[in-house]
Symmetry: C2
Subunit: 414 residues, 2 copies
């Protein structure tokens, strides 16, 4: 007798997972190790940016009023009384028709309210002339024009990207506070599994899901514990899962969630007293994907089929881990694109098809069954085709999940 399972819609399944994602603690890390981590407190400006009125160009600081009436036929002459490099401060104050030579980024001297670029002058000895009037604050970068002191520049929950690093450095945060990384374990089930270094044997295949998930976690900046491969025996599997679940915030298993004679995970979840959020999702591949929660810890039961496993990770594990870290953007990035070829086969379940997205069009990346491996590597996106009775045609605008687009483009822009 086969157990009947009621499929949950993908969107509802994702929401169910997020509802159960608790919060991890925070920690301080050195700035140079903080790239890719998630800010656990707001990034507040400890000073204005710029911290003082400064020159955006190499040129001369002047009093704008002195340039009034300047023209090609009536040039105004200024006398240069000082010279400031970036990082230096002039101790002189400008009087009428005086100027101070100033470099990009240097603080404007007392009395000056405009900057003349070198290209706008004719220099002669320690004087120069101008042929046009300058407005008050022309060519001046004003204190605080980018960021005001005490402003919250980046909210908590944002990923620390290279720009965030620049801001943290600007404000002197040498030890920013970030969300702790979750402790994640991977346990691959299946007596058919060999290690990567093993020679093939009849009926067996090498474990590809474990290393793949390790890389999916690494893409998120998260390390993991590998629990190796468990054998398909209920008691031993139960003990292995129980131990791994106790040692992690989130245990990912592959295989063992279907209705086969050695699919022990449903029984294990029951023995653990885990709450099963769903054990069937209206999606292909990966309809058997199961997510359970025990003692506040996640148990992700991904399919043993590589494509299904890959998709299950990105749809459910990724947002759960990001939410645990307090991320403001827990979902897989997505866009829409034009389908580059027909996809006639109708399916009641939402399909996720590994695909190549080129910035405009999206095309299936090849052999497309749940047990496919090659297309996972060849693609940089997943086409999303909602479940329903009709197929899809070339030129239809479809949803696309972006997973690998960051690798780069083969061509420059048109």
């Amino acid at each position: 007798m086969v157990e009947k399972r009621t499929p949950m819609q993908v969107k509802d399944a994702v929401a169910a997972v997020l509802q159960h994602a608790g919060s991890l603690a925070s920690e301080k890390v050195p700035l140079e190790d903080s790239y890719g981590r998630i800010l656990a407190e707001p990034l507040t400006a400890t000073s204005a940016v710029p911290p003082f009125d400064r020159s955006p160009y190499d040129g001369y600081a002047i009093r704008s009023a002195d340039s009034a009436g300047a023209s090609g036929t009536s040039r105004v002459t200024f006398r240069v009384i000082d010279h400031i490099g970036a990082g230096e401060v002039s101790h002189k104050r400008l009087n009428a028709f005086e100027a101070i030579r100033i470099m990009t980024g240097a603080q404007l001297p007392e009395g000056a309210d405009a900057v003349v670029m070198f290209e706008q002058t004719v220099e002669e000895g320690d004087t120069f002339t101008l042929r046009k009037p300058f407005e008050k604050l022309e060519n001046v970068s004003l204190q605080g024009e980018d960021v005001a002191k005490d402003e919250v520049v980046i909210e908590s929950g944002n990923v620390i990207n290279p720009g965030t690093i620049a801001l943290l450095a600007t404000f002197g945060y040498s030890q920013p506070t970030v969300a702790k990384l979750p402790t994640v374990g991977i346990l691959s089930t299946g007596t058919e599994l060999l290690g990567v270094e093993d020679a093939l044997e009849p009926g067996k295949i090498r474990n590809s899901n474990g290393p793949m998930i390790m890389a999916q976690l690494k893409r998120m900046g998260i390390a993991c514990k590998m629990y190796g491969m468990s054998i398909d025996n209920l008691e031993e599997s139960y003990q292995a899962v129980k131990k791994a679940a106790q040692e992690t915030d989130c245990l990912i298993t592959t295989g063992g969630v279907s209705v086969g004679d050695f699919d022990f995970l449903p029984a294990i979840y029951e023995r653990l007293g885990a709450k099963v959020l769903f054990n069937k999702v209206a999606m292909r591949p990966g309809s058997v994907t199961t997510v359970a929660v025990a003692d506040g810890r996640f148990l992700f039961g991904l399919s043993g089929n590589p494509s299904a496993c890959f998709t299950g990770f990105e749809l459910f594990v990724r947002p759960a881990l990001l939410q645990m870290m307090g991320a403001q953007k827990p979902f897989v990035p997505h866009t829409t694109a034009l389908l580059a070829e027909d996809f006639e086969k109708a399916n009641p379940f939402t399909r996720f098809i590994r695909a190549v997205y080129d910035g405009e069009e999206v095309r299936p990346a090849g052999f497309n069954k749940s047990n496919a491996v090659s297309s996972i590597a060849r693609g940089n996106a997943l086409i999303v085709l909602p479940g329903g009775s009709r197929g899809f045609q070339k030129g239809d605008r479809v949803d696309v999940l972006l997973l690998g687009v960051e690798e780069g483009a083969a061509k420059w822009m048109n």
Copy 2:
């Protein structure tokens, strides 16, 4: 007298850089360390995938011919003679109206040519009945249907993504051959620069470009040598740059490339005998970006302005490093999107505006001058507005460089 420089178009400047990017050697690394590296040899299938005909479902392997004529009123009965779990091989051969219970992923037994799912049977003791005929090879995953033995599955020059890891594991590559990582140095110039831990002083700012570039490199999986900050003195700067250039494949400097009195890099390039590929690019920000080559090594002279520095890195340094590693996709990923607001100001140079891309629209990320820092952190893309006399309107379709989209999305798909 200000030196006149002739601006090069961005596209030509990128091409000039790529022309000078040599090839790095390759090395073997453990599979678990290979994520994000670039394949330095084609990934060839050491076996077929699947390696044998196998069952994609939990059910019964049968001879399809035996099911001929089966119907709801004339059910055909099969006798179960063996039971195979995944990884096991049956040593029995099917005779007429015999079946073998088989689990997902298990090798098809001798004589079988179709698989019946549990849901399609009515079981009773060691027999079951069917109500429909099965075709030859129905519900069978054929040996090699995903990948044929000896097939080149992924070409050299591709980034090793999680799917590639799955393939490498499948084929037993525990030590894949990847391109060596370039040795990259960062040297920030400018007497106005303080360290991240320093207290602010009049006229000075903390060095944000160095840490930012370090993070931009880290996003590419590349570590760097920090050469600290050089003072604005020609001789000392020359010695510092010379030493750093000798120790690296690629030296990135920030600042010192403009026409200021302490902008020594043009003179240093000359003393080093470096070939300057360009020292002016028709772009905002970053028009002073300079790229030179000395002894086959790159010298990237990025602007000291944070936005310009960030953009210069992504436009020029990134593709150069990727090309050195033999990458097939050296360019920044790009797409097009609808401009979410007017951008009236005309400019003869191509503008790169740090922006927020939501999958459909793109909107400037805030304060937008070359010395801006905040918008770098707030954005996940760069809007590209080609140089020309006109402005751009809300709704115009514009080119977008994707730099940070991988962080995630705040919302699920519509």
